[in-house]
């Protein structure tokens, strides 16, 4: 059952992204930035977790989840360690994702070569 929710919510988020691309012609960098900010806002206002409860991957896999982790990390660290948490929390929570993206990009960058689009 939760697969259906994951599919529906995930699909909906992606469709909103596509709608933004069609309507405003914005580039993928701006799309990603927008959705990260949406994720940060959702987490900051405490709306993310209730959605995550039933949508699961539907909201954690889109980049919205990345934004939510940033905010969640910062909030948690601030509560635990005070001021310095605002600076350490966000990156700590997302370190695995960023490190993986950079690491694999480096690895596959060494192995493969860019090909002309068909």
């Amino acid at each position: 059952m939760y697969y259906l929710w994951a599919f529906l919510i995930g699909g909906l988020i992606c469709m909103i992204g596509e709608l933004l691309i069609i309507k405003t012609n914005i580039t993928s960098a701006r799309i990603l930035v927008t959705f990260v900010l949406v994720g940060v806002a959702l987490e900051a206002f405490g709306i993310f977790d209730p959605i995550s409860e039933f949508a699961r991957a539907g909201i954690n896999v889109p980049i919205v989840g990345f934004g939510a982790s940033l905010a969640k990390g910062a909030i948690g660290a601030v509560k635990a360690r005070g001021l310095i948490g605002a600076f350490t929390g966000g990156l700590e929570a997302t370190a695995a994702g960023i490190a993986a993206a950079v690491g694999f990009a480096f690895l596959f960058g060494l192995i493969f070569k860019a090909r002309t689009k068909k």
Binding site: F7, C14, M15, F66, I75, G97, A105, F112, K113
Partner: protein, 148 residues
């Protein structure tokens, strides 16, 4: 007619002239591919939880994202991801796989300019703003929570 008015009139004319594409097919494609990627993530997550029942939920999600990032990075390397993207648009940009693609694709592209000045420098040409804006937003949120 002065230049400014002429340009304005021309821009309006061009806007009206641009062919209107029907948005529904691409919206539909982005919907179902985005949904499938999310379900894939859910599947990986469930498998991890099944294999390691004692793992914390948060850790399992982190592994899931790493797996998706690996997959997207690999598909980018073998030249498949850009074809999915041409078809799916937002469906393959918005998931975390799109983030991975946006880091791997410049790494491949600028390899010819060398490891340091090509690959490493250009890796964040697209994803850089995502990380910068994300970090700044998280700092702000942290500061706000410090005072409430």
């Amino acid at each position: 007619m002065d230049d400014k008015k002429r340009n304005e009139a021309y821009n309006n004319y061009v806007k009206a002239k641009i062919p209107k594409t029907r948005p529904w097919p691409s919206l539909f494609n982005s919907f179902w591919i985005g949904g499938v990627i999310c379900c894939l993530g859910q599947g990986i997550n469930d498998l991890i939880m099944l294999a390691f029942p004692n793992m914390a939920e948060q850790t399992a999600w982190t592994y899931t994202l790493v797996a998706l990032i690996f997959l997207a990075s690999f598909l980018t390397g073998i030249g498949v991801y850009d074809r999915i993207g041409k078809f799916a648009g937002g469906g393959s940009i918005v998931p975390i796989t799109g983030f991975s693609n946006s880091i791997t694709s410049p790494a491949l592209e600028f390899k010819n300019e060398g490891i340091i000045y090509g690959m490493c420098v250009k890796m964040f040409t697209i994803a850089g703003p995502v990380i910068v804006i994300g970090i700044i937003a998280s700092i702000l949120v942290g500061l706000v929570y410090l005072f409430i």
